[in-house]
């Protein structure tokens, strides 16, 4: 047998875990299913419409940009454009006109991702780039929330919990409703419980580690907890802060984006801590009721710096500790 021409010779290791980029991306998508089901229940067909079109726009733009502008092999099979599409949809009101959605998708994929060279090279979370682009360009449409179909009132639109908290604190839903998601808000952010289920799944599948979500949620809880001890008004209530707005969605799904978050566990904790602080500062003293997306994108910008200054805990640094 002429083996010499057939044998593969390559350096070790010779086996691979089988992990892949699509596996991780689809894993996150599975973790988003509970939140999607809640939004389906609350917003009905609008939830499907916005999610499906957001995915179609994101995947479509990525395909067109790689094929006709970058002239490279299309990368849409890695699942990252689908994930960006779903995450973008989850950060939008369910009654957003589709043409605005298309602009958001173009900003997310075109500016947020492909202009840096595609998956792995972008500095800012693409879905958040899209969301912030829309928030600044279409402030009215981006902050008008349909009243949940399941909440029996005559009103057509409502403010979010956080907007009420800031400007109209007597008009708050119960904590149970916030936990379950019977409230106004973006598509995927409303149910803290559903998002926590997703977190559990991702931790179990080892898609992410606990560091970033814990650092963000912990910081917000402690920050508002201290204020609540000093002055117990609803605006300082830690549970309202934890269960409302984009905090859960951001802490679990947006801030944990591999590409734009720090590499080391130490770095992840620092990053999460500052996201928590910035979010609370904007929520309490800023012009916007919610500051999660700004906080994440700001800290995305600091990620390279955090990476430079935080090193993993090296073997042998803890000498003879027993």
């Amino acid at each position: 047998m002429d083996m010499e021409t057939k044998l593969v010779v390559s350096p070790s290791p010779h086996i691979h875990s089988g992990d892949s980029i699509p596996k991780n991306m689809y894993g996150v998508l599975i973790a988003l299913i509970p939140a999607f089901l809640v939004s389906l229940y609350v917003f009905r067909l609008d939830a499907v419409l916005i999610t499906v079109f957001s995915v179609l726009f994101c995947v479509g733009f990525e395909y067109l940009i790689t094929k006709f502008i970058l002239k490279k092999e299309p990368t849409i099979s890695d699942g990252s454009a689908i994930l960006t599409g779903v995450l973008l949809a989850f950060n939008l009101p369910s009654n957003l006109p589709l043409w605005i959605l298309a602009i958001g998708a173009l900003a997310a994929i075109g500016i947020g991702k492909m202009s840096f060279g595609g998956l792995g090279n972008n500095i800012f979370n693409p879905a958040l780039v899209g969301r912030i682009f829309l928030l600044i360009s279409f402030p009215a449409q981006m902050t008008t929330w349909p009243v949940p179909a399941v909440a029996a009132t005559d009103a057509v639109t409502s403010a979010t919990v956080l907007a009420n908290l800031k400007f109209n604190p007597d008009n708050l839903p119960s904590l149970t409703h916030m936990l379950l998601g019977i409230e106004g808000g973006s598509l995927g952010e409303i149910s803290a419980l559903a998002l926590l289920l997703g977190l559990g799944y991702m931790l179990w599948k080892k898609i992410i580690t606990w560091h970033i979500p814990t650092a963000i949620l912990g910081t917000v809880a402690i920050f508002s907890g201290i204020l609540y001890l000093i002055n117990p008004i609803p605006l300082h209530h830690p549970l309202i802060h934890l269960f409302s707005g984009g905090l859960m969605l951001g802490a679990i799904f947006m801030a944990t984006d591999y590409v734009t978050s720090p590499l080391t566990k130490k770095g992840m904790l620092i990053y999460g801590f500052f996201i928590g602080i910035i979010t609370m500062c904007i929520r309490l003293w800023g012009a916007y009721p919610e500051g999660m997306s700004f906080a994440i994108v700001l800290m995305n910008g600091f990620t390279p710096l955090i990476n430079y200054y935080t090193t993993p805990k090296r073997f042998g640094e803890v000498r003879k500790n027993g």
Binding site: S10, N24, N307, T311, G316
Partner: protein
């Protein structure tokens, strides 16, 4: 909670296809090639020439320095020539080629199976015997054993650690040896303890070898100072530094030897060879090799004389499957892919693994998605993706500062990478380069 090392690590599928298979002897072929470089350090000097008659155990290569080792004939017959032969390194290097005639052993060697527990030799006599028997680390590193038994001045060993982890997937040679030569290994451990002048030894065994743990725990009670420690299954627990951390919770500092934390680690196969050398006067002329692979007809553990070709061993296991795409000397994580089958078995080869073509090729790499999984699994606490980038852009000062030279080349980073990045390829390259730079600076 079972003990294990504290930083990083992975858990690849064990695939121990040849587990529990009794060690079989390989028939000696008509010719063997015994390489003169079977250890770290200077290659041995040949002391035989063409036409010389040799017996099993005759010295054919003499240690050529402090870090070097003797080589003995593994067969009886006539030296045909001393010539360059391709060995596991892939290079053509000197080997003694012997035509086999019969199987006649040196008279000094005790070939009986009788267990000899008593050893009244002094520390120095033991080390001399180990050195003259040409014993090297049989776990794969092939570092001369007697050198490890002589700590540098000012350093003192406190504990002997026997590496019975066998954390590489597929390999079972150590496991089977432990099942068949339990007491011999325990006597070997006692001898090594004496050589190091320590009163304590720990045998670390991974929990997937429960039968071996039970057997050793049962027999060890009659050997003073030896304890058996089951370990959680985790790769690369067989790495010297990881094993020390797992067993005695001490971490060897960067750039230092295990002796700096009072530990000396010996492989379990080496320990058996020490027993044979000291108690039976038998030099290192054979070893246990696992021949395995998903499509191998008869995965097995064999006792092979040094110098027998891979082909002979593969034939014994049912021949080379036609679907073979890669032949690995050693395990799948740290073993070396070889390009041919006429390579001789040497002292450090614990297994021959045949990988089907469908699994032999690597997948195409993608851009790094900075998932940090390589960082989480690195058992040395390094940042593999950064080290790869620094090597790619030849930023050697930063590579050095980020401790590229600490890399033990276990391959956990590349095994884990979802983007299939050739992390270890680059780090190996950068590590070599940085080591050269450090060396040049010292001179």
């Amino acid at each position: 909670m079972l003990k294990t090392f504290r930083i990083g690590g992975i858990h690849p599928e064990a695939n121990k296809l040849s587990a529990g298979k009794t060690i079989q002897s390989i028939e000696i072929p008509a010719e063997v090639s015994i390489p003169l470089a079977q250890h770290i350090g200077a290659p041995s000097q040949p002391v035989v020439k063409r036409g010389d008659k040799v017996k099993v155990g005759t010295l054919i290569g003499k240690s050529a320095g402090f870090v070097s080792a003797n080589i003995h004939s593994s067969v009886s017959g006539t030296v045909k020539k001393i010539d360059k032969v391709v060995d596991i390194s892939g290079y053509r290097r000197n080997a003694v080629i012997i035509g086999v005639e019969g199987d006649e052993w040196e008279d000094s060697i005790d070939r009986s199976e009788t267990l000899i527990k008593e050893c009244n030799l002094s520390q120095k006599e033991i080390i001399d015997k180990i050195a003259s028997a040409g014993i090297v680390g049989m776990g794969g590193a092939m570092f001369p054993t007697h050198v490890k038994l002589m700590p540098p001045p000012g350093m003192k060993a406190e504990v002997l650690i026997i590496n019975a982890v066998e954390c590489e997937p597929y390999l079972t040679s150590d496991h089977q040896l432990m099942m068949e030569k339990t007491e011999e290994i325990l006597v070997g451990t006692t001898i090594l303890m004496k050589a190091l002048n320590v009163s304590k030894a720990i045998i670390g065994i991974e929990n997937n070898k429960k039968d071996a743990i039970d057997k050793f725990t049962q027999y060890a009670t009659s050997y003073a100072g030896i304890s058996i420690q089951p370990l959680k299954e985790r790769y690369p627990q067989g790495g010297e530094k990881q094993l020390i951390d797992a067993l005695i919770r001490r971490q060897v500092p960067s750039g230092e030897l295990p002796i700096s934390v009072g530990a000396v680690v010996q492989n379990v196969g080496t320990t058996f060879a020490v027993y044979e050398a000291v108690q039976k006067n038998k030099p290192l002329i054979e070893r246990i090799v696992t021949i395995t692979g998903k499509e191998v007809k008869n995965p097995c553990n064999v006792r092979s004389r040094i110098g027998i070709s891979f082909q002979t061993l593969i034939d014994f296991a049912g021949g080379l499957p036609p679907t073979t795409g890669k032949i690995i000397s050693g395990g799948p994580m740290m073993g070396k892919a070889v390009a041919r089958t006429d390579i001789p078995v040497v002292k450090g080869i614990s297994g021959i693994l045949l990988i089907p073509l469908s699994e032999a090729r690597r997948k195409a790499p993608r851009d790094c998605i900075r998932c940090a999984k390589c960082i989480h699994v690195c058992p040395m606490g390094l940042n593999p993706t950064l080290l790869m980038n620094l090597t790619e852009y030849t930023v050697w000062d930063r590579a050095e500062k980020n401790h590229i030279t600490d890399c033990i080349e276990c391959g956990s980073c590349r095994y884990t990478c979802p983007a299939n990045r050739p992390l270890l390829d680059y780090i190996r390259l950068g590590k070599g380069k940085v080591m050269d730079i450090i060396k040049a600076r010292k001179n």
